[in-house]
Symmetry: C2
Subunit: 364 residues, 2 copies
Amino acid sequence: MRRALQLASLGRGGTSPNPLVGAVVLDAAGQLVGEGFHKRAGSPHAEVVALRQAGERARGGTVVVTLEPCCHHGRTPPCCDAVIAAGLKRVVVAMADPDPRVCGEGVARLRRAGLEVIEGVARAEATQLNRAFVHRVHTGRPLGILKWAMSLDGRTALPNGESQWISSQNAREWVHHLRATCDAVIVGGGTVRADDPLLTSRGRRHPEPLRVVLSRGLNLPKAARLWDQDGAATLVAHGPEAPLDRRLWLDAIGVERLEMGVCEPASLLEALAQRGCNQVLWECGPELAAAALRQLCVQELAAVVAPKLLGGLPARTPVGELGLSRIESDPSWTEDTVRRLGVDLVWTLSRASPSGTPRDRPRP
Amino acid sequence: MRRALQLASLGRGGTSPNPLVGAVVLDAAGQLVGEGFHKRAGSPHAEVVALRQAGERARGGTVVVTLEPCCHHGRTPPCCDAVIAAGLKRVVVAMADPDPRVCGEGVARLRRAGLEVIEGVARAEATQLNRAFVHRVHTGRPLGILKWAMSLDGRTALPNGESQWISSQNAREWVHHLRATCDAVIVGGGTVRADDPLLTSRGRRHPEPLRVVLSRGLNLPKAARLWDQDGAATLVAHGPEAPLDRRLWLDAIGVERLEMGVCEPASLLEALAQRGCNQVLWECGPELAAAALRQLCVQELAAVVAPKLLGGLPARTPVGELGLSRIESDPSWTEDTVRRLGVDLVWTLSRASPSGTPRDRPRP
């Protein structure tokens, strides 16, 4: 199963809306005869890749797979059928597929076909690996990561607005890797105006994550690096109040628009889930970050902290008004990791589920 | 020398204005026959304690001492004389005493008396151990440590002012230990009004650090825990503009006052150096912290970062206006350590000397 999880992680950044899945096939004598992972939606599933490699040697053997084999016709035929057809004796599964079309039915069908099924091997690791997929299936929204870079005194910019080069080269490269694990990167109009960001993984993901601008009034600069879509696509999401002339201008320069009934983080994430996003990165300013947090659109935090003091009472800080009146009322961020990247620290944290996630929310 | 440095550190928090010093005595055969450390100003120096323990066995032997033996009459007679009188053959010294009354003259006198002197063994460790003493001797000011506790988004309080319980119990105990290494703890009037702090080491240092309030106008609450001096002394420093009625009130409740020509961090530190402080802790609000930084009264930072988001654009942050116009113009904080204390992180940093310290400043 450890090997199957390693294989699964090789698909990272490419499989959405599908989960990461890895599989190994052992012959009747326990020898490894096939392995595979899911590369991207529409390509063969992990079990099928591993079984093809094993061929006749799979007969009487075992398949070890990180996620319950599917039992429905999607873009590819059901994996359960392939597993049964291969003449396997046993199936070892890490976790059930949360997809309501599968969710236990895959395992049940295998058992009805007479195969031995062992469930729950390394379930915690498998659930962690696919936490974005699980979150999206349960909530109808992609998992959100809020990332910011700040000085040791909690500033994201000097009082005069200068914000470049707070973090080191090593930390910036880590951010490129982080973007490569995400299906979309989201900013607000203010960040486009202030920083003119590129928001790509610098080639670490193919295709690059979708670059999303959430802008109520479409008050956006005429020239911006985001409008050059040679290497990465850009989507501008806005509300019904966006002026017609600005919509027409975006259409004219070839930037895709998404008009939402209400211009807010939750609506955007539901739209992005429907476009197949499992995981998104918020790289926005304090007001949008606070709105995303208030609407439970953030499940993980990634704070890059640089050993510098910037100072300044009116200077910018990472998160705007959250409406808290007691410090204890802030939900806990747990399961954290601290990394050194050059001179900087990167502290990543995730909400303790289930209380911190909107899983109990009625499905839309 | 490693043992001598361990011994020296046992005096931490008690020796000011003197340095931390440890010594071991080996007999002619190299056997350990005495050890000692300097406990507090006025008590015997480390070499004398170790030589007393060794007695006649020191003759023909070696003393290993973390700091050059003194050659002047202070509160105790010169240690050089004791070393020479003990009939030792060799002296091993980690670092020269920066005190201009000693500074090489101790070693020279030992050599003139025919002893072999080996200098510079573990000099870096010894200098680090006594960095506060060295800093005070070189600059005429105690070494300053600026400490704050903040949330992951750089807040020291909620917008409504609530600031208690940002950090965990473990982190608060670490702060008590930090206070125990300092001769004084400094706040401004705003912190007294907002937090009514106790500012003690909770018994980890005897006597407790001097609690200092720097307050231009003496706009201080009538009732405050700092005015109860049963367990720890309080000093209020002010400028010439402080109203007479408030001075008289402080005198009446038995709180010591210090009137300075100008009410600012640098003047306060020079006064505290003259009172024997080697190391002080700034536990103040953002404006005073920024003033202390601007006047080079801070050589080390200790940021306690809690895994919480507080948010709020008008909320309080650790450091006020520093007058920086470029991010690169902030001096580097290096030589850092990250500790986990419960759920919190504590990041301590010090300025890269000599550029970041005011050592090149003319002596007052």
